[in-house]
């Protein structure tokens, strides 16, 4: 096969490219330039996007003897990932930009271009496995190392995209194994630190970064009964489940800690309540997509649900749940644009609603997060959490 290896400059994508070469594929390396103003040197635990990272990727490609290019996707990335991130927060939601990047950049804009330029697939250094069913259809499964498993952030991929993806390190037993292999191959990136932070927020301070982009309007903090408990500097920097930094002087009647249980950017209100109020029993997701079988083939419809597991964060444990379909919605209305200055929240297509009921109530569920539906190790599909019903 002709494979385009996306090389971030990190150890995982380096080993992924190397394994694709070893497997006898014709491999070309490409580093995606995602920032208009790339930093010169890596800082903290950001994993890509600086000139140093680009050079690291180039060095590995050189060692592998494969052609290497840097492609500029910065415009697309700004529009689809960075601006979306800001608009989601401005709408009181908590987005996952890495999923958005996979959905719109790596496995969309890049894959599109790769196929048009004559490649058969795009390879990345994700810890996830593609298993071919007997009829050849690709199934997306968790990576062999459950501590590193990244199938969650790939949950947005459809069978058409999966047919052109390969994850050469997904079957690795551990990150340590991948690092050891990089060492053995003499890659200069073998000991490069793992990346955790959002790549476009240089110092990792999301709140300060957002405050710069979304004009802050002071507003009220209320309890669930509507009583005013204090003031906030701007509702959109609060996340459901948050406990610290609320600045409420008056203690709760029962003396227990209070949590953010709701953020309403329209009313510019933050609602707080006891931990019990965070418990969520039902979730409603929009922008649903299916990684494998279409829902009808799995017996999922508006009337009948199926038993499976749902995971609501990249590193959360999956929980048993029952999943069925809701109505088809045109779009999610945007929040009123008025207070938000340069960022105009956009209405977004909603599509088929995914309904989920969990057996044991979940806490810390924020609208905007993605819920990925699994059965065992297999990813069935995903949806963006839009509404929650408290237990």
């Amino acid at each position: 096969m002709r494979i385009l290896a996306a090389m971030s400059g990190g150890v995982d994508s380096a080993v992924a490219a190397a394994r694709a070469v070893d497997a006898g594929h014709e491999v070309v390396g490409v580093h995606l330039a995602l920032s208009r103003m790339p930093g010169t040197l890596r800082t903290g635990s950001r994993g890509c996007c600086t000139i140093e990272d680009s050079r690291d990727a180039h060095m590995v490609a050189g060692q592998l003897g494969i052609p290497f290019y840097v492609w500029d996707f910065s415009e697309r990335f700004k529009e689809d990932v960075v601006d979306d991130f800001i608009a989601e927060y401005a709408n009181g939601r908590t987005p996952n930009p890495c999923m958005r990047c996979n959905e719109r950049i790596k496995f969309a804009a890049l894959l599109d271009r790769a196929l048009a330029l004559g490649f058969d697939a795009v390879a990345t250094g994700h810890y996830a496995e593609i298993v071919r069913a007997s009829d050849g259809t690709p199934e997306l499964h968790r990576g062999a190392d459950l501590n590193k498993d990244q199938s969650y952030v790939l949950g947005v991929l459809t069978p058409e995209q999966l047919a052109h993806c390969c994850f050469p390190i997904g079957a690795s037993a551990s990150k340590a194994e991948v690092r050891a292999e990089a060492e053995r191959r003499g890659f200069p990136v073998a000991n490069k630190p793992d990346s955790y932070d959002i790549c476009f927020i240089p110092d990792g301070d999301t709140k300060a970064w957002l405050a710069d982009k979304i004009p802050m309007r002071p507003g009220l903090i209320r309890d669930e009964a509507g009583e005013v408990l204090g003031e906030h500097e701007g509702a959109t920097t609060y996340t459901v489940g948050q406990r610290k930094g609320l600045g409420i002087e008056k203690p709760a009647a029962d003396g227990k800690p209070r949590y953010v249980v709701g953020v309403d950017p329209h009313a510019n209100t933050v609602t707080v309540g006891p931990r019990a109020s965070l418990a969520v029993e039902e979730l409603e997701g929009i922008r649903t997509s299916w990684a494998g079988l279409p829902p009808a083939d799995m017996g999922v419809s508006e009337e009948t649900g199926i038993d499976c597991e749902v995971q609501i964060r990249a590193h959360a444990d999956p929980v048993p749940a029952r999943v069925w379909l809701g109505e088809v919605r045109d779009e999610v209305p945007a929040a009123e644009a008025d207070p938000l200055g340069p960022v105009v929240p956009r209405p977004r297509p909603a599509g088929q609603v995914l309904r989920v009921r969990v057996e044991t109530p979940l806490t810390g569920v924020a609208p905007g997060q993605t819920m990925v539906v699994y059965r065992g190790t297999r990813v069935l599909g995903q949806a963006t959490i839009d509404r929650t019903v408290h237990a």
Binding site: P38, I51, R55, V70, A108, D112, R113
Partner: protein
């Protein structure tokens, strides 16, 4: 690097001696240094004392802009005159000039922050002389210098520098020109051109990377950028690089010979063949820079492939006595094709091309030159530059033209980054 330049370089690297030392070895080195200086000066129509060796074109540009701007402001302050914050440059300068000028805006050299004025160009990338005249006349006493490149590195347009010098000198304003791209492609005569400072680089003509010069009128003493032992008229400190200077001289003489032995003329004809071929094989391609597509009498399908066939009468660079486009430069917009895609496909087909001027990460960005010429951001992303060399053959040009339509079709299918990808949900 040719064998001749390489052996001249290598021979000097074996020698020891610091030209600034007073013992016999040092004196020998000084002789070789001055010989190189005289040879470079001779090639570009300057006096030896006007050659200030630098570590390349970028340093020469930095020294010219920063040094002259600071000196002009220092002199104004000393004479009790108002400051001269205005720096006039064309909108299509190389980054070495552009970024330096922007830096002057942010730093108070000579006690004053610069006011940067970008002089516009027309669709072909040629300086708008009327606009330049107006900008100069607007506040000549507040202007420190004017800098316009001799020929653009991306679209190849030769600039009306002589006319610009006349306009600026009428107000006593010094003119700098970045001639890095022009050296070896156009006859250079510092004295006849009339500019006050001219940047050169050795590696563009097959000399070593890391060697260049600022040709500097004797009457100018810019404030140094590099301070130290006071070498090079006190303007550029640092131990003199005899080997680099000697190799530069050898390369400059060889480049000058190419101007008269038919090599450059042959390159210009190949360029015309390439541009006409691009216009023919990719009908919606837009050739940038000064260029008129040949009419019916021009190149058409099945023509002979003799390299020395006279170029079509209306071809680029032949309408006037002096060339209007660099002979080695061909550049075009391929609408709907990402430059990155074109570069990849051409590279795979064995052709080394470029998307514009690369930044240090090797990332292509919409070119500021194309934008200044009035092209859209998408058009500016859809470019490809083809540089010809003295060894380029007519067969190579024809082979490129043979693969180009397929390359363009495929790149177009891959689409523009600005378009929504088809997978997007």
């Amino acid at each position: 690097m040719t064998e001749a330049v390489f052996s001249a370089y290598a021979a000097q690297l074996r020698e020891c001696g610091n030209p600034s030392s007073l013992h016999a070895e040092g004196q020998g080195a000084r002789m070789r240094m001055e010989s190189a200086r005289a040879r470079v000066a001779e090639v570009v129509g300057a006096q030896p004392a006007e050659v200030v060796f630098t570590a390349g074109g970028t340093e020469a540009d930095n020294l010219a802009l920063t040094g002259i701007h600071a000196a002009r402001n220092r002199d104004a302050v000393r004479a009790g005159m108002p400051a001269r914050p205005r720096v006039l440059i064309s909108a299509i300068e190389h980054h070495a000039v552009l970024e330096t000028a922007e830096h002057l805006e942010s730093e108070a050299y000579g006690g004053t922050r610069a006011e940067l004025v970008l002089l516009p160009v027309d669709r072909t990338g040629r300086l708008d002389l009327d606009a330049a005249a107006a900008a100069i006349a607007e506040a000549p006493e507040r202007t420190s210098l004017v800098s316009v490149m001799l020929a653009n590195n991306e679209v190849g347009t030769v600039q009306p520098v002589t006319e610009l010098v006349r306009l600026a000198h009428a107000h006593g304003i010094p003119v700098h020109t970045d001639a890095v791209q022009a050296l070896g492609q156009l006859p250079l005569d510092f004295a006849a051109l009339g500019v006050d400072a001219m940047s050169l680089s050795a590696h563009k003509i097959g000399g070593p990377v890391g060697t260049g010069a600022l040709i500097l009128d004797r009457g100018l003493s810019p404030v140094p950028v590099l301070h130290g032992g006071g070498q090079e008229r006190g303007v550029r400190s640092g131990t003199l690089d005899v080997a680099g200077a000697t190799a530069f001289a050898a390369a400059a003489e060889a480049a000058r010979d190419h101007l008269t032995d038919g090599t450059v003329e042959r390159m210009a004809r190949l360029r015309d063949r390439l541009l006409a071929g691009i216009a023919r094989t990719v009908p919606d391609a837009v050739v940038t820079g000064p260029w008129e597509a040949p009419d019916a009498s021009g190149v058409c399908e099945g023509e002979s492939s003799e390299a020395d066939r006279p170029a079509e009468p209306k071809a680029a660079g032949r309408r006037e006595d002096r060339p209007v486009r660099l002979p080695a430069n061909a550049h075009a917009v391929f609408p709907g094709c990402e430059g990155d895609s074109l570069l990849y496909l051409l590279d795979m087909a064995g052709f080394a091309t470029s998307t514009g001027s690369a930044c240090q990460a090797g990332v292509s960005r919409p070119s500021h030159v194309l934008m200044a010429c009035g092209f859209s951001e998408d058009e500016a992303r859809s470019t490809q530059r083809f540089s010809l060399g003295p060894d380029t053959t007519v067969e190579e040009v024809d082979r490129l033209l043979a693969v180009l339509p397929d390359v363009v079709t495929r790149a177009r299918k891959a689409g523009m980054v600005s378009a929504t990808p088809r997978w997007a949900g």
